[in-house]
Assembly symmetry: C2
């Protein structure tokens, strides 16, 4: 039977970006894709259900100068990112039509994935499938390893999380509470600050945009200092945190979102604290810790089922909304994990 | 028998310092001290033989604002620092006249130490006694724990040391060579750079003052990047190093001497590397690792006896020279460990 053609809306990366990304840096187009994988190939054809908007994608939009751990997007090609998909056709022994998977896919309705090694079959479907872009996907594992492996937390320690209501931050705060820590988060709106306290169980929270003096805000929230800082934003916040760390404090450097779109980055001036307070500051990326995914999945699915951890998502409906959803991360428009719903079909 | 009085030249701390310290910030005075400890006390009276000039002393000259791990000097009082001394009289059961000790003493010819818990009896005297201000004292233990405990070095890794010819740096380089690492150092004069290569066995070295572009200098010396950076200077050097670290690199933050005298510190702009390269950056101070002193002493005395490690000292003769020797650290006038010889008497 000859493959019929499926119509396929796609989001194309226009060209390298400097400064803040704009919707116009991505172009919505229409194309078609054969409904079958090429005969004899080991490709899989995916119907994309959810696409994930993640801050690291900004890095892939920049002209490649220094090699990084991710490659740049190719101008004129479809945007690539995490997603949740259903297998439509497969030439690969590990995947069959109907399988639900999560992993790297295209920002389009259907994706032909020629080397499906970046795809994981979804084991538990008693939770929203979109969770595999967030709490049970890359951001979830990031929060889990970042907090448990990099921060070496102990019961009773004080923990500060920036971008605390986001995909990663809301989980770090909840993991820290489960560990018996005192947890404070910051976020950029009153609504988010309320969420932190009422929904995620943070002990305290503040709106960093309304603080004239970040050092003073941290001193108010942590009169005895910070044992653990989970760093999502960088810049001025990091500088203020350095002044408020306790002796032998740890900083897990997960991301520096406040710097991603600046053409001139902010300087960090308080490095002296690293010596005087004997601070350990450690960067990490989730792909280095993939081997912990099975352990993470079992732990977190149980937390979800037991109601010990909750997760807030911000779902944009329709692939047309993907560009604005992505750029919204950099102005804090998302409340919780930013997802794009492409198709409801499970 | 009544105690006779000994004449006692002393170096007095004049007042808190901003910016670079000057000789005039310290005043040479003459006083007297009784030749016996007060009856019934557990004090010891020391005759100081060598005094140590150490960069951290600059911190003690600043007006205390943020509590640090060292207290500020008291204006009008004698300068305090590490030294090597001979016990003249003792009311303490652990010390007897004639004992040689190293530890905290005053910048004066004789010091009455009322609580001698900061003093260590010298076990090996087949090396220059001044070594207990350097290779066998605080800077030695700093290099030893900083490199072995904080850097987690492995054979074959690339190591970069700044202020490499100094009290700490020359040892870090030699420890790294003994470990089988590839070692490059930087220093501020041609003479020091020559020393690094000819005397301390560094694989390569450069004069950072003659490099227009520190990033380019590091790329030249480390075409495949740096696994371990032993940080002594901070500022622009740290920023350039961050661009040249390898994935999973480690930075031991020992000191930031380039920043100690600035009223406006330099910013660090390349923090993004901490995430993309998954760098661990860790501050440490020697007092936290004192329990390793016995192990360190046995290892390093053997290295010295076997000629596996050498040590260069810069000895200023006479206590009058102490102020200029101290301030010379901050312009790089010292070649090797800066010591002040107060009295030759062993
Ligand atoms: N290392 C890794 O493997 C890894 C993996 C995933 C994510 N990350 C990093 O983790 C961080 C959080 O990612 P996420 O997925 O959880 O994103 P997110 O928090 O869900 O979304 C980004 C949030 O960042 C905040 N933000 C944006 N611009 C900011 C600025 N200039 N200053 C302060 N906050 C700003 C906004 O919240 P407000 O309203 O609070 O400002 C925004 O909602 C990012 O830095 C990301 O790059 C790292
Ligand atoms: N964490 C700890 O427990 C601990 C213990 C001991 C020492 N330290 C730190 O380790 C570092 C080295 O101490 P040390 O005792 O071995 O001193 P040192 O290297 O013997 O003497 C200081 C040297 O620093 C260099 N220097 C001065 N100003 C500089 C600048 N603006 N930029 C770059 N280099 C500069 C000079 O050498 P050049 O000619 O090469 O410029 C100078 O000779 C210092 O930062 C010190 O505070 C830390």
């Amino acid at each position: 039977m000859a493959a019929e053609e499926l119509s396929n809306k796609r989001v194309i990366f226009k060209d390298y970006v400097t400064g803040y990304p704009k919707e116009e840096d991505m172009i919505l187009t229409s194309a078609t894709v054969p409904s079958k994988v090429p005969q004899g190939s080991t490709a899989v054809l995916l119907k994309n259900l959810y696409l994930s908007c993640d801050p690291y994608m900004r890095g892939r939009m920049s002209k490649p100068i220094n090699r990084s751990y991710t490659d740049a997007f190719t101008p004129g090609s479809v945007i690539i990112g995490y997603g949740v998909s259903k297998v439509v056709d497969s030439g690969h022994p590990d995947f069959s039509p109907g399988d639900l998977v999560w992993g790297m896919t295209g920002w389009e309705e259907y994706s032909l994935v020629t080397t499906p090694k970046g795809l994981t079959k979804i084991k538990y479907t008693d939770v929203p499938l979109s969770y595999y872009t967030g709490i049970l996907g890359m951001p979830g594992l990031t929060a889990y390893v970042g907090f448990h492996e990099i921060c070496s937390p102990k019961k009773g320690e004080t923990v500060y999380v920036s971008a605390a209501s986001g995909a990663v931050g809301q989980l770090v705060g909840q993991f820290a509470k489960l560990m018996g820590c005192y947890v404070v988060g910051s976020a950029g709106t009153k609504e988010k600050v309320d969420l932190l306290k009422s929904k995620f169980g943070f002990d305290d929270a503040f709106n960093y945009k309304e603080e004239e003096d970040l050092d003073a805000a941290l001193k108010r929230c942590f009169p005895d200092g910070i044992d653990i800082y989970f760093e999502n934003v960088g810049g001025k916040m990091l500088d203020a945190v350095l002044l408020n760390m306790r002796v032998h404090g740890r900083i897990a450097v997960c991301g520096l979102i406040s710097q991603y779109n600046l053409t001139q980055r902010e300087g960090i001036y308080n490095m002296t604290s690293i010596v005087t307070k004997r601070i350990k500051m450690q960067g990490f990326i989730e792909p280095d810790h993939k081997h912990l995914y099975p352990q993470f999945l079992e732990a977190v699915i149980q937390y979800i089922r037991d109601g010990k951890v909750v997760y807030v998502e911000d779902i944009a409906e329709g692939i047309e909304k993907a560009p604005s959803a992505l750029i919204g991360l950099f102005t804090g428009r998302n409340v919780g994990k930013q997802v794009v719903l492409v198709a409801r079909d499970r």
